[in-house]
Amino acid sequence: MIKFILKGLIYDRQRSWFPIIVIALGVMLTTLLYCYMQGVSSDMVDINAKIDTGHVKIMTHEYAKIASQVPNDLAIWDLSKFLNKIKKEYPIDWVARIKFGGLLDIPDDKRETKAQSTVFGMAFDLLSKNTTEIDRLKLKLAIVRGRLPQNPGEIVISEKLANSLQIKLGEAATLISSTSTGNMAVHNFLIVGTTHFGISNLDRNIIIADISDIQYALDMEDAASELLGFLPTGFNKAKALKIKSNFNSPQMTMLTLADQNGLGEYLDLIGIKLSIIISVFVLAMSIVLWNTGLMSGIRRYGEIGLRLAIGESKEELYLSMILEAILVGIIGSLIGTVLGLLAAYYLQEVGIDTSELLKGSKMLMSTTIRAKITTTSYFIGFVPGILSMLFGTMIAGVGIFKRETASLFYELDV
């Protein structure tokens, strides 16, 4: 019987093509959309985590209240002791960071200001032997010209900043900022490289320095503004929350990634959006396929009548229609999933550069559209594709039960 149905599907293109195209298209779009949203959200989460939020983050209570002003006088002191303690309690990857603002001054030969710009600075551990920060931030990939700092007193700045200040590599620059005690800090650095991350916030007026240099320059010996913790397997809300609920300190605040930058709401929203999109898709497909089913019911009126007359029961006929629908559904969904995954794979591996479109965006967002294929990607479109064909046919096929066998001779005799 399956062979008979398959033959029918192959011989009669109208029976198979239209539903297959509809399903394949819908499934492809759903799969691609899903992968895209996964890509965007995991990209977004990942970038935010690495640059700013960590999977969990520790600050002092006071610092946390006004963190956006980078109040380094409220930093974590006695850093090494605290870090040892926290590493023992929570054996995940902990790193210390300092954020700072200031003025970067480029002197000419006569030591007079040639160019100047306000800058935002980030201090990472760049120089210690087994630092994880260079890999985490993909700093080597971000280098456009020159190299990363390898010695104390060296910094890299964004390519954009370098261009606007017309700096050549190897030039000296003076950072003017304020120390943790509120005094003026003036420190000379050597610019050894320029960076471009493809993330708009990191490609503005950014300077990147080693944390020991900045601790020295800003009078922050054995201090850091933030401690970032990274889970070994990537962000997981439940795990992060568990660490947070165990953490208890009179001076320190711990936040998870979801507590910062609106990322928690963002992740929830993605989930909601996704379920809405998929429901709408299933509904729309079902309606289209129901109509297709009705049309084919009309077109195959004679066949259905004949099959009833020569002894197929209504239940058997209904089942065989459903079997046909499942076959069509599987074929369509398979094609759609493969196409969707191929497109997603392209986006995952190559991506689409949108940096022009995203100029001026404040979110920490990658300027490359990327998709991410997860296990869910394989059935997120596939299952609804089959289901909508099934629903559509099930509703359309109810007509079979309304057929009066008593009138078959009349219907089949005309």
């Binding site: 019987m1 008979f4 033959k7 029918g8 011989y11 009669d12 029976r15 004679g302 066949e303 009548g305 004949l306 099959r307 009833l308 007359a309 020569i310 002894g311 197929e312 029961s313 209504k314 239940e315 058997e316 066998t405 008593a406 078959l408 001779f409 009349y410 089949l412 005799d413 005309v414």
Partner: protein, 236 residues
């Protein structure tokens, strides 16, 4: 001695139309024996198709009893009726009703799929049926490529392939010219003799009547006349 395959006793069939009732069949008594080659004849509206419908378990009697192959049609469920049609009855229609997307072989094979026979069994039976109707050279053709006469021969093969005990044929020659009509009638006559299959026709075609062994005339839903016809002489 002859087996009674179909025993109709005091059958009436009423349809309600508007407020009133219309009787398409009135107190029909009829016994049909194995191997019969009989026709229900009569003017249009006399109840021929209605009677075939009831015998074919497509419709149920309003009154009386109809026993077909030991099953009481008035009592059986839709499922049992479908089973009876599937296993024991063959149908031939005025307009062939072949499945257009399948080829000749597959059209004839279809009833055997419902019977869940193995593919070798199916192949043997289909080839035999094709031989009966003389269409061995058209196995792979689609219905659209066949003439009307060929289509009806495929329909006969489809009805006969499972070797049913009874074949019900409603106006099988109505769409055919004289030559094709005689051709398919001869085919059916041959199968009646070869396999002992009972044929019941509903017709007003004189060509069909010429082949019948028994003629039951219906007028206004009543059996008006029931005669056995003399064996046919050779056609000239």
């Amino acid at each position: 001695m002859q087996d009674t395959l179909i025993n109709i006793h005091n059958l009436s069939k009423h349809y309600s139309i508007g407020g009133g009732q219309f009787s398409a069949l009135k107190n029909v008594d009829l016994k049909i024996n194995a191997g019969d080659f009989m026709g229900l004849v009569g003017p249009s509206g006399s109840g021929k198709t209605t009677l075939l419908n009831v015998i074919g378990a497509l419709d149920s009697p309003s009154e009386g009893s109809v026993e077909v192959l030991k099953l009481k049609i008035e009592n059986i469920s839709a499922k049992q009726a479908a089973k009876l049609r599937k296993e024991k009855l063959g149908f031939i229609f005025q307009t062939y009703n072949l499945l257009p997307v399948y080829n000749v072989y597959e059209n004839i094979e279809f009833p055997l799929l419902l019977l869940q026979l193995s593919s070798t069994q199916r192949k043997d039976l289909v080839m035999q049926a094709l031989e009966w109707v003389g269409l061995l050279d058209k196995v792979k053709s689609k219905p659209a490529q066949l003439s009307g006469g060929e289509c009806q021969r495929v329909a006969i093969a489809r009805a006969m392939v499972k070797k049913p005990q009874v074949v019900l044929a409603d106006e099988p020659t109505a769409n055919l010219d004289a030559r094709n009509s005689h051709n398919i009638l001869q085919t059916m006559e041959k199968l009646n003799q070869l396999l002992g299959t009972t044929f019941i026709f509903a017709t007003h075609d004189a060509k069909v009547i010429g082949y019948l062994k028994r003629k039951v005339t219906l007028i206004d839903g009543r059996v008006e006349e029931d005669i056995t016809l003399p064996p046919r002489g050779p056609q000239c």
